[in-house]
């Protein structure tokens, strides 16, 4: 019996050592250089389906668009993109991130889309030294210095909170505001910061929350006092914003809605509402015209275009060019690509701004824009 226990213990120890060495080998894939003279592989993942699919489709199109243009122009190395669908679910994010890390040919990653997705990918990419860049993840703490392989194009929520609260105070003259968060890791810190700034400006703030799985908000809306000036919605699902707006109307409450960056969506169309977002409307930029028309030619006339996509396009440019620079000698490591990402220096971009990153991975000079939804579509108001 004792012999059996000893053998069993030894077998267990061997299995643990084996599994540790396997995971070390997977993480170690970063160290070895891969050939990328003719072709380099990068990953893309985002919420292609799921509750944020309307944004996911646009993000995906625009993010892979630059690589397609690059390949069509016959530039080297040819970029091969391995894709994954996060379904807006952190569990899926972790699985796909593991797959990316395990693929030894994969040099860098485009995506994911949202803050909670970045949080799910963070430990995996950090361990593997994998560079990854998000277009639209805005949670301030994502670039607190503990996420050294991460970059983003959108401005952090600290800036969004400041911009949104200033607009509510200065332009909308709000005295009573109700804030509804959706309990996600994106929503709560943003709501907290806006609440702090509004209270500092002596605005009465009432706070409540919903969940992303909730389908009825009528009782939450009943609880909103009648004299409220603004309902602020730092939530991620535009379908929920739309339902809140409709249910306010159903209960005869005419209150201005102000949403955060997910508000730029075909799913949110309450006329007179506002949203803040991290990019301008590129359709108004003469310099972006040729890229925008090329995009519609590539993905069809009805392909979505809000402020999300162009930021995704910039992630594509930064990553593909970093990979190309790292692959100049015909081979590259993930560490080399990461170093090249840090050196990104685009004089201008589709959003009319230069692109450089600070040491934390934030884009220098990134800001937020405010839009109002009109009958003809969103209009920039600040």
């Amino acid at each position: 019996m004792r012999k059996l226990i000893v053998i069993g213990t030894l077998a267990l120890a061997a299995a643990i050592v084996g599994s540790l060495s396997t995971s070390a080998a997977q993480g170690g894939a970063t160290a070895s250089a891969v050939s990328c003279k003719s072709e380099a592989t990068i990953g893309y993942f985002g919420p292609n389906t799921g509750p944020a699919a309307s944004i996911g489709e646009e993000l995906r199109n625009w993010t892979v668009f630059y690589a397609r243009q690059w390949n069509k122009q016959g530039k080297r190395p040819r970029i091969n993109i391995v894709e994954g669908d996060t379904q807006f679910d952190p569990k899926e994010v972790a699985t796909i991130a593991q797959q990316f890390v395990a693929n030894k040919n994969l040099l860098a990653v485009l995506g994911p889309g949202a803050s909670q997705e970045v949080l799910a990918a963070k430990p995996i990419f950090k361990r593997a030294g994998m560079s990854y860049i998000a277009a639209s993840a805005t949670r301030t703490s994502l670039t607190d210095g503990t996420n050294p392989t991460f970059f983003r194009i959108a401005a952090p929520d600290g800036i969004q909170a400041l911009s949104s609260s200033r607009y509510m105070i200065d332009k909308l003259k709000a005295k009573d505001v109700v804030i509804i968060d959706d309990q996600s890791s994106y929503s709560v810190p943003l709501a907290d910061e806006v609440q702090r700034l509004l209270k500092k400006a002596k605005v009465n703030v009432k706070r409540t929350s919903i969940t992303q799985k909730q389908f009825d908000f009528s009782s939450v809306i009943t609880d909103i006092p009648n004299g409220t000036d603004v309902v602020y919605l730092p939530i991620q699902l535009a379908t929920q914003m739309q339902l809140i707006g409709n249910q306010l109307r159903e209960q005869g409450k005419r209150i201005t809605l102000f949403s955060s960056d997910a508000g730029y969506s075909n799913d949110f169309k309450i006329t007179g509402s506002y949203f803040s977002t991290f990019g301008p409307d590129v359709r108004t930029f003469r310099t972006a015209r040729s890229t925008v028309s090329a995009y519609f030619k590539e993905f069809g006339k009805k392909a979505p275009l809000t402020t999300f996509g162009p930021l995704g396009y910039i992630t594509g440019i930064a990553t593909v060019q970093a990979v190309a620079r790292a692959c100049k000698d015909g081979k590259a490591t993930r560490a080399e690509v990461l170093a090249q990402m840090r050196k990104t220096n685009l004089k201008t971009s589709i959003i009319g701004q230069p692109v450089r990153f600070n040491w934390r991975g934030d884009r220098i000079g990134a800001r937020f824009f405010t839009f109002q939804i009109t009958k003809t579509g969103p209009r920039t108001v600040r």
Partner: protein, 312 residues
Amino acid sequence: MDWYKLVQLLVNGVTLGSIYALIALGFTMVYGTLKLLNFAHGDVFMVGAFIGYFVLQWLGGSAAPTVNIVFLIVLMFVAAMLGCGILGVFIERFAYRPLRNAPRIAPLISALGVAFLLQNSALLIFGAQYRSYDSFDLAGGDLVVRGIHTGPLNVSLIRLITVGSALVLMVLLTLLVKRSRLGKAMRATAYDGEAASMMGIDIDRVIAITFFIGSALAGAAGVMIGLLFSNIYHFMGFYAGLKGFTAAVVGGIGSIPGAVLGGLLIGLGEALAAGYLPQGSTFQDFWVFSLLIVMLLIRPNGLLGKPQLKKV
């Protein structure tokens, strides 16, 4: 006391409760006849919501329907009820009937399997994105803006339609079970299947019809959710099913009036918790399931459930 708020919360609660009651009725009917917890029932409800959605899209969508609005809504209900009814019969025939004489854990596992099968099939076929009925655009918004708006009472037409149709379905079901030959056969099968069979009742047929009716009610509830709250998705059946099941247990599983009472209690509980308790909206599920636990501690057979007598 803010009467406006109280009245409005009661309206919200009754509307939501009517939907939970319809779902609970399916649970309770199946449990009554087969002593089976049909965990796939919530997902049948989800399928009903999708059928209603596709009928709506097929007939032009909310903004520009190609047929009369009343006809459109009736058609959505009929299609969803028929579709879900047939699906329910199919599930019973292939997932539960072969296990009717197996140990009770086997059909329970089979029910969970069917639930996951339906969820994942919906994910595969319809995708994971949210779909919207855009019901606030129906009839130029009249369904939302019109209704009863007197003093604190603020009930939109869409809520009146929902509660009214739920009430009609519940009354019809009660009449069917209490007054018809089929209802008598259902009650006999529920009381003692073997004896009913010896009396010449085709219990396979009765059970199939029970599944048809229960699932059809879930289909109707699915359309109601879509019309009231617009957004539907493949995983919606899990939460709604859980609430429906809770309602059935609170009311006394196996009891039809109990299911209705349980549904209304859960709906009202959610609404009042969201309106009056601190962080009520955040923790409304906490309050609902606390109610379930307390109820089971006080009355293990539910509010209107009868204690099971065992021959000793």
